[in-house]
C-alpha cells in the first residue's frame, strides 16, 4: 500500500507551504463562492416556481388577439364555468404599475379575498374587503421601499374617468412568501378594475378541473369560449395554458439566465486558473528544491506526481468546503447581497425579502470538480516539469 503512504504525504506537503495553501484556497473561493451562491439562488427560484405552479390552477385562460394576451370580459368567465369538467374559475387582474415619485415597479393583483394565496398571509393588518373599497395589501419589499405602514395612504394612487382616487394600505403580507410576491399589491377585483379603468374586465381566469380532465377542458375552452371586442367588430378567442406549458416557460427563462451565469463563471474560472498558477509560483524555488530532495532520496517521478495530486485533491476539498460554507453564509446571513440582483432584477439592498436558495448536491460536486481542475492544472504541470529533471539540477 505504498501509494496510500505516498498519498498521505500530501497532507505534510500542505504543512510545508502553508501560505501557498492559503493563497490557493482563497483563489478557489474567489471563483467558486459566487458560482455556488448563484446556482443556489437559481435552484431556489426553480423550486419556488415549481411549488407555485403545483399549488396553482390547472389551466390559465386569457384573451388572445393578434397573438397577444388581451383582457377578457366577466361574461367569458361565465362561459368557462359552464364547460363540463370545470370545478372552479377564479377571475383575476394582474397588471404592472409604477408607484411613488421614483416609479417603483409593482404588480397589482385583483382577486376575491377568499382566493388570496395562503403563502401571502398578512403579518400585519388585515385583508382587503370585497368591492370597490380602495383597500390594498402590499408586499413587504414594496412596503419597505415606499415606507408604507398599515393605514398609510397612497396619494393620488391613480387618475381615471372617475377622478383622483386615494387608496389605503390595510395589510402587509409575509416576507416568507415567495420572493416575487414581495412586490405585489393585492386588492379586490373591483378595485383593480377601477385602478386600470377597465370595468367588468379581467386579465385572466384560473381554471380548476376535475382530475384527469384538464386537457379535454382546455380543448373545449379553445373551441367554445369567445366574445366580441368592445366595438363589436372583432371576435376574440381564449388562449389556454396548462401547468406543463408554464413549467416549460419557467425552465426556458431559467436556462437562459443560468446560461449567462455559467458563461460568467467559466470566465472567472479561467482567471482563477491563472491566479492559482501565480500562487503556485510562490516559493517555487523551494518547491523545486523539495522535488530534487525527494528524487535524491529515492522517490520516482510517478510517486512525486501522486504526492502532488494528493496535495491538489486536499487543496480542492478544502477550497470547495470553504467555498460552500462561505456561499451558504452569504445566502443565509447576507441574503445573497450583491448576487441576488442578478437573478431577481429590481431587488434592492435591505429589502425584508428572503432570497430563496437551495444548495443541491450536483452543483456542489461540480464546484469540487472545478476546484480540482483549477488547482490541478495550476500545480501538476509545474511539478511534473521539475520531477523529470535530474535531481542535481533541481537542487542546484
Amino acid at each position: 500500500m505504498s501509494w496510500l503512504q505516498i498519498a498521505l504525504t500530501g497532507v505534510t506537503s500542505l504543512k510545508l507551504h502553508p501560505w501557498r495553501a492559503i493563497a490557493t484556497i482563497v483563489c478557489q473561493a474567489a471563483v467558486l463562492v459566487p458560482y455556488i451562491a448563484g446556482l443556489g439562488i437559481a435552484a431556489g427560484l426553480a423550486r419556488d416556481a415549481a411549488v407555485s405552479l403545483d399549488a396553482g390552477a390547472d389551466l390559465y385562460v386569457t384573451g388572445r388577439q393578434f397573438g397577444r394576451s388581451v383582457p377578457m370580459p366577466l361574461a367569458a368567465i361565465q362561459q368557462i364555468r359552464q364547460v363540463p369538467g370545470v370545478t372552479a374559475v377564479v377571475p383575476r387582474i394582474v397588471a404592472p404599475i409604477a408607484l411613488g415619485r421614483e416609479h417603483h415597479r409593482a404588480v397589482v393583483v385583483g382577486l376575491a379575498p377568499e382566493h388570496m394565496p395562503h403563502e401571502a398571509e398578512c403579518v400585519a393588518g388585515r385583508l382587503f374587503r370585497p368591492g370597490d373599497m380602495q383597500e390594498l395589501v402590499v408586499g413587504s419589499g414594496l412596503a419597505a421601499r415606499l415606507k408604507l405602514e398599515i393605514g398609510s395612504y397612497l396619494p393620488p394612487f391613480y387618475h381615471n374617468r372617475a377622478g383622483e382616487r386615494v387608496s389605503q394600505v390595510v395589510g402587509i403580507f409575509s416576507p416568507d412568501a415567495p420572493v416575487w410576491q414581495a412586490n405585489l399589491v393585492f386588492t379586490s377585483l373591483q378595485t383593480a378594475a377601477a385602478i386600470f379603468d377597465q370595468p367588468r374586465m379581467v386579465t385572466e381566469a384560473l381554471v380548476y378541473c376535475r382530475p384527469g380532465e384538464s386537457e379535454r377542458v382546455a380543448g373545449r375552452i379553445r373551441q367554445k369560449v369567445e366574445w366580441q371586442s368592445a366595438d363589436g367588430a372583432m371576435r376574440i378567442g381564449a388562449s389556454v395554458s396548462d401547468q406543463a406549458e408554464l413549467g416549460a416557460l419557467c425552465r426556458e427563462a431559467a436556462a437562459h439566465r443560468d446560461g449567462i451565469f455559467h458563461l460568467h463563471c467559466i470566465l472567472a474560472c479561467s482567471v482563477g486558473i491563472l491566479a492559482v498558477l501565480v500562487t503556485s509560483g510562490y516559493g517555487s524555488t523551494e518547491r523545486t528544491r523539495e522535488v530534487g530532495i525527494l528524487k535524491a532520496i529515492g522517490w520516482q517521478t510517478d510517486e512525486i506526481m501522486l504526492r502532488s495530486a494528493s496535495e491538489s485533491m486536499l487543496l480542492s476539498l478544502a477550497g470547495a468546503a470553504v467555498s460552500v460554507w462561505t456561499a451558504w453564509l452569504w445566502l443565509r446571513m447576507f441574503n445573497g447581497y450583491g448576487i441576488a440582483g442578478l437573478f431577481l432584477p429590481g431587488l434592492q439592498r435591505g429589502e425584508p425579502v428572503h432570497v430563496p436558495f437551495l444548495l443541491v448536491p450536483v452543483p456542489l460536486l461540480l464546484a469540487f470538480l472545478l476546484a480540482w481542475v483549477v488547482v490541478t492544472s495550476g500545480s501538476l504541470y509545474t511539478t511534473w516539469r521539475t520531477a523529470i529533471a535530474p535531481p542535481a539540477a533541481a537542487m542546484r
Binding site: 505504498s2 503512504q5 505534510t12 528544491r289 535524491a296 532520496i297 522517490w299 517521478t301 535530474p390 542535481a392
Partner: protein, 222 residues
C-alpha cells in the same frame, strides 16, 4: 568488480547562449565496495559534479558511469530512482524539509517503500538514538542547530539501509565539535563495511580515507 566506476565521464554545463563550462573532462576511476573514498580538490574543481554522477543524481554529457558493473546510461527515470534508493546522500546544506519534523525527515525515503507510519517512527528513533537526537523526534527540522540538522541528514541517508553513503562537504557548515562528531559517525559506518564517498577538504577525513581522489579543473590528478 568495483562498486562504482566511471569511464571517460565528462559533464558540460551550458550557461547563457553558447557558453560552456566543462565541469568534468574524461574522468575514469573505480571505487571498490567497502572503500572509504575521499574526493578532494579545490572549490569548483568538479568534485560535487563527480559525486552527483556517481550517485545517479545527474547524467554525464559524455562517457559512462557504472554501478556494480552495469552502466547507468540507458536507465529510465524509474531505473535511476531505483539505483538512488541504494545510496544515502548527505548534502553540504543539509537539504532537509525544514517545516517537517525530524521523524518525518528521517523516514521520508521509506514512504515509497510502503513502510507504515509506526514502523517508520520506530526506525527513525533507532537511527537518531546513537546520534543523540532521539528526544528531538517531533521537533521541526528548522529548529535544530546546523550540527543537529546534519546528523538528521545522516540518519535520513541511513534510513533505507543503503549500499553506499555519498556526502558532499558534510562538515563545511559545522563547528569543530559537530564536525568531529560527524566524522566519528562515519568511522562507525566504515567499520560496519559501508562504502563511503565523501567530498571534503577536511584533513581529518583525508587522513581516515582508504582512497583519495584528487580532482582539479575537472580532471583527476595523480
Amino acid at each position: 568488480m568495483p562498486l562504482f566506476e566511471t569511464r571517460s565521464a565528462s559533464k558540460i554545463y551550458r550557461r547563457g547562449g553558447a557558453r560552456e563550462i566543462h565541469a568534468l573532462d574524461g574522468v575514469s576511476l573505480s571505487i571498490e565496495a567497502g572503500a572509504c573514498c575521499a574526493l578532494a580538490g579545490p572549490s569548483g574543481s568538479g568534485k560535487s559534479t563527480l559525486l552527483a554522477l556517481l550517485g545517479a543524481l545527474d547524467r554525464p554529457t559524455g562517457g559512462e558511469v557504472l554501478f556494480e558493473g552495469k552502466t547507468l546510461a540507458g536507465l529510465s527515470d524509474i531505473g535511476l530512482a531505483r539505483i538512488r534508493r541504494r545510496f544515502g546522500f548527505v548534502f553540504q546544506n543539509f537539504s532537509l524539509l525544514p517545516r517537517l519534523s525530524v521523524c518525518e525527515n528521517v523516514s521520508y525515503p521509506l514512504v515509497p517503500r510502503g513502510v507504515g507510519r509506526n514502523q517508520r517512527r520506530a526506525l527513525a528513533q533507532r537511527l537518531l538514538e546513537p546520534l543523540g537526537l532521539a528526544d528531538r523526534l517531533d521537533d521541526p527540522a528548522a529548529e535544530l542547530s546546523g550540527g543537529e540538522q546534519q546528523r538528521v541528514a545522516v540518519a535520513r541517508a541511513l534510513a533505507a539501509e543503503p549500499t553506499a553513503l555519498l556526502a558532499d562537504e558534510p562538515t563545511s557548515q559545522l563547528d569543530q565539535a559537530s564536525a568531529e562528531l560527524l566524522w566519528a559517525t562515519f568511522d562507525d559506518l566504515r567499520r560496519q563495511g559501508m562504502t563511503l564517498i565523501v567530498c571534503s577538504h577536511d584533513p581529518r577525513f583525508l587522513a581516515r580515507a582508504s582512497q583519495v581522489i584528487y580532482v582539479e579543473s575537472g580532471k583527476l590528478r595523480d
